[in-house]
Symmetry: C2
Subunit: 383 residues, 2 copies
């Protein structure tokens, strides 16, 4: 899909991944970009996260973002910190930017191996030479780790401004920014403050509601960049950002490691937005629910148990659970056609609806089934 106005992107193979696949991505703008970021809540943070947070707090505009895949540059002590600074500086140099503060960095991949600085040094000029404004396909491919597919979503605002999002997953994904990188670009005109407010709100409802395995990562971040070319209503922009971020959330969950099925959990009538979100995440993140979906087993008891684990409700008398549109629990075991529900669960997406009947707030969470392949992938990833 075409990039919004004002952006260029590239993705090349710099030799970081042993496979020789693309592993160095670049997004740039000739003009300063308004931006916002939400980062991992894991207390162990990679240097790229720490550095970007400082830039975020300083409220400076930026002009470039560079990403490497295959090496997370995390837990590398002081060397890791300086390597990350050098990664930014080399990128600024290759781009001809006078100020290294205008470059943000992101790294994803294996933890605890030194960043291959020679490969990056050699690769950056090639990435700069490859920059173009046509699409983000190369970039979307260069940020992947164990992902099977690239992830891009777009939306267009009534006034013509566009929003394009690119993300990667796909393991270690859990609410509050687990190994997920998301980059959303827009050519809408927007100021820093409303953009940041919108982004926080959007991420809490979308990308932070994705869970693959309950593990958060020290590296992950969700960004929005605005090049400020086309007038846009703030509400319309927030809506479009929400659409794009939700689309990315679904794609990340569907491409979870070993996943065969996207699980969407819709919780309605919670006492607060946060309680509804927590309940939805708890169901989507339960290993037992995930395994039941994998086995096409309409095991609503595990859904209820996950709701109970989330701590939002103790009284089941008014709770309703629906699987693929079938009522399976209405305050007590509700007779249902098990073979029919199991058959309906043989689908690429399984919808679990829970009506808490406790308030008026709704939320959604996305996850994936737990398969033997998840184990295989994660038992063999590194060695």
């Amino acid at each position: 899909m075409k990039l919004p106005l004002g952006f260029r992107s590239a993705g090349i193979a710099a030799g970081i991944k042993q496979s020789g696949k693309p592993d160095l991505g670049l997004i740039t703008s000739d003009e300063p970009l308004v931006w916002a970021m939400v980062a991992t809540e894991n207390l162990v943070k990679a240097p790229c996260v720490t550095r970007n947070r400082a830039r975020h707090a300083a409220d400076h505009p930026v002009r470039a973002l560079v990403v490497n895949a295959g090496n997370a540059n995390c837990a590398n002590g002081e060397t890791g910190m300086w390597n990350n600074e050098d990664f930014a500086a080399m990128s600024a140099g290759a781009l001809g930017l006078a100020r290294v503060q205008e470059v943000l960095t992101a790294s994803t991949g294996v933890i605890g191996k030194p960043l291959p600085m020679d490969a990056l040094r050699a690769g950056l000029p090639k990435a700069v030479a490859a920059l173009h404004e046509e699409h983000a396909d190369d970039f979307a491919g260069a940020i992947l780790t164990t992902d099977l597919v690239t992830k891009q979503v777009e939306a267009t605002l009534p006034g013509g401004a566009r929003v394009v999002g690119i993300a990667k997953g796909s393991g270690m994904i859990h609410p509050n920014m687990a190994t997920m990188l998301a980059f959303v670009l827009t050519d809408a005109i927007v100021e820093q403050r409303p953009l940041r407010r919108s982004w926080r709100d959007v991420v809490s409802r979308t990308l932070n509601q994705v869970t693959v395995d309950g593990d958060t990562s020290p590296n992950d971040m969700a960004f929005v960049f605005a090049s400020g070319r086309i007038p846009a209503d703030t509400g319309e922009l927030r809506y479009a950002l929400g659409t794009v971020a939700e689309g990315l959330a679904r794609k990340v969950a569907a491409d979870g490691e070993g996943a065969t099925t996207l699980i969407t959990v819709s919780v309605t009538n919670g006492r607060s937005p946060e309680e509804a979100r927590r309940a939805a995440r708890s169901v989507a993140g339960s290993s037992l629910v995930k395994a039941a979906v994998h086995g096409r087993d309409p095991n609503w008891g595990r859904v209820l148990s996950a709701i109970g684990m989330s701590g939002v409700i103790a009284d089941l008398d008014n709770v309703t659970v629906r699987l693929q549109g079938f009522d399976v629990f209405r305050g007590t075991s509700s007779p249902f056609d098990e073979p029919a529900v199991a058959a309906a669960m043989h689908a690429p997406e399984v919808l679990i609806e829970v009506d808490l009947a406790a308030g008026e707030d709704d939320a959604t969470a996305w996850g994936c089934d737990l398969s033997a392949d998840y184990v295989r992938i994660n038992a063999e990833y590194r060695t």
Copy 2:
């Protein structure tokens, strides 16, 4: 192993499990028992948990505990509540006890199916007829669900009093009493209040430090019963209870669904006992750590990431990680002999040691590796 003085036990097949295996267990005492219980923190609670908690709060002595396996009698609405009352009443009747309050109940198995009252009614007199004071083997077998082996541990106090523990796992096990039932019997003389204090402390250090899959269950409970026959020092008793509960915790983790390897996580020098416990649980519970152990991959990055997720420490500079006794991280990536460590991980038990260097408090947690069999078991459990 021989029961402590004053107890009798039985375990028979009442026809609750489709397999025809034993599924009804009974522990009794002719004299009133001093007792303590720690129960699930899942807000959704089975009626047996709610009823036992009321008995616990009322501080009454008890004389019998009845357990059925194969049906959790959970999420069955008001019918479930009355069926549990009837289960207790029928047990009291079969035992010839005048007061139904002297009987505690426990149920474990599938959620949301009505308790088969006819089978229980027919089975209870048989269970009473089978009571004996020799050992708990029949009882230990009758409480199992997907467990592969029975779990019993014993200890003897200096004065001759004995402690015998029996437990079942094996999925849905996570800190704070997930699908775990543990029954510890002692003939020590002890009062209710010190016994309850000891038990809370012991469970928080042992059974609540076991995690198999992150899911807590609505049904699970850990009991201690004292028949009061042999004088014992309170400190000695607490120590023996700790030994037995830790032994049960290890057995439950080792028999986790699909497990091939027991994972023991030892965290030292945390800022508080609670932080050390949380860090240890976070490592033992991480799907990525569990999969890495399954693959014999010395992936210490995932250990650090799990420590970060637990929120106890942000600065890794003084943190040390050891795998099977090998230093693999000392504030930064520490060169180590990867093939040697991987080879050492080919063992029935893998020890992960984390020195937080932040304070003086230690803790241990127990878990198991994540295998493709876990998925198979949980995708196919019910249907």
